[in-house]
């Protein structure tokens, strides 16, 4: 009797492990349109309204627990923002003069400045889910999908800065791969004296510490410099992001590190851990086809 129980227990355990391994292997080798992915999409489509309802219903609970951390962070932010405000007030006066000069010169030269967000519709969506472990996969789920015109590759902004890009779309939901995800890479420009270009990736083991790499060794970047998207529009290597979206602020620009590794450290402007709403930039007049997915091996394997 006891032997029978032991055999049964071991058989069920082995069966579960084998089923898991089969699912893992099959899913990993499949393309995005294969049966397992379709089933997964179907289940998520069914779950999405439930998740949205739960997200709204549990918001007071989230807010209550988030209040403690928010209070401490808000005090620190208030002091930083006061300093920034004073600095920015001085800068704004200079920029206004520069802007007037620019507009006059642009008029004379006939410069086309139709970049930025002008070519996009902004669709506001609510955050209804978030990945469990932000060290290996930093994504969030929004309550807008292909029914709202969202496509894979659409940029997402929120809380004053770049959030990431849409990496997976269902009928009424979508997954956003954040700029802090290990698979994410954004071509950026540092607004220092020279306007240096670089490639921004998340730091290994600390997603909120972004690294701008491939910078010139002699770049004169200072702590506090703003980083914006570069927005390459080359047809061969089109950037996912339009130009001049604020991404982050330089937190550490060590000349030794810049000389050795050609990189500086950047903190994202958007508070990516406490987003409630985000805006999806939906391109106007697109071909209607989804852009190719970009990212690391998880994406190549069919994940978002």
């Amino acid at each position: 009797m006891y032997d029978k129980q032991v055999r049964r227990r071991r058989a069920v355990l082995a069966l579960l492990v084998v089923v898991s391994l089969i699912l893992l292997t099959a899913y990993f080798g499949e393309s995005a349109g294969s049966p397992l992915h379709s089933v997964q999409r179907g289940v998520v489509a069914v779950l999405s309204p439930v998740q949205e309802g739960a997200s709204r219903a549990l918001k007071p609970v989230r807010d209550f627990f988030g209040w403690f951390g928010d209070t401490a962070r808000a005090k620190k932010e208030r002091d930083q923002l006061r300093k920034q405000r004073d600095q920015l007030l001085q800068e704004v006066a200079g920029y206004k003069v520069a802007m007037q000069n620019y507009q006059q010169l642009a008029g004379i030269l006939g410069v086309d400045d139709s970049g930025g967000l002008r070519g996009y519709d902004q669709h506001t969506a609510r955050v209804i889910g978030r990945s469990l472990d932000n060290l290996v996969s930093d994504r969030l789920q929004l309550d807008a999908g292909s029914g709202d015109g969202v496509r894979v590759g659409d940029p997402v902004i929120g809380d004053g800065g770049l959030v990431g890009h849409v990496s997976f779309v269902g009928s009424d939901y979508s997954f956003v791969t954040l700029v802090t995800d290990p698979s994410s890479a954004v071509s950026v420009r540092v607004l220092d004296a020279a306007g240096d270009f670089g490639l921004m990736k998340s730091s290994v083991g600390n997603p909120l510490d972004l690294l701008v790499q491939l910078l010139p060794r002699d770049a004169s970047i200072q702590q506090g410099d703003i980083v914006v998207t570069a927005g390459s529009r080359s047809s061969a290597l089109e950037s996912l992001y339009p130009p001049n979206i604020p991404v982050g602020r330089v937190t550490k620009a060590d000349p030794v590190e810049l000389d050795a590794d050609q990189q500086v450290h950047v903190s994202p402007l958007a508070d990516l851990r406490h987003l409630v709403f985000a805006q999806i930039l939906i391109g106007r007049g697109g071909s209607g086809q989804q852009r190719a997915q970009v990212g690391g091996p998880a994406v190549a394997a069919g994940g978002p």
Partner: protein, 194 residues
Amino acid sequence: MNRGEGYQLPLRLALLGFLTVVVQIAAISQVTVFGVSADISPLVVASVGLLAGSLPGAVFGFAVGLFVDVALVQTLGVTSLLFIAIGYWSGRLRELRDPAHGLVPLAVGAVATGFSTVGFALMQFLLGVRAPVSWLLLRQVVVTILIGSLLALPIYALVRRIVRGSLPQDPRRRRRRAYTTGGLSPLQRPSAGR
């Protein structure tokens, strides 16, 4: 046991698993403490293993893991594998040692959280995702385990409350039997002739 009671445990576990994953994704994952968010799903799986045994623990772990992978559009089978191990070994601990100390769920919760966090990172590394190995990762793992340990006891109490009436070796049933048989099992009941 009547026919309806046989379905009680699976039904309760299915509801528990569904609610766990929905609440985890919709609420708990969005609250961060010291830069990490709590993960109650391994704690619930470990609690079910401790209360119901290795087989229900493993099956529950598989189902919850699969549900997590589906809901988060992750590679299917990764979380299932980890949660099968957590559910099975929690159940085996109960079956082999039957620990009675009140802090056992706390220790099991800590081990389950650590195993889940490190295991997930390792599995992702094996699947080709860049491995985030650093002191900060270690710090985050430690903080995650601490948060998991803090939540382990209340989660265990909650799970016990939910599945209590449907467990095969429920203390209430033992009390019922004691009431009907005078405290002895039928085999031990003294015969009238002696």
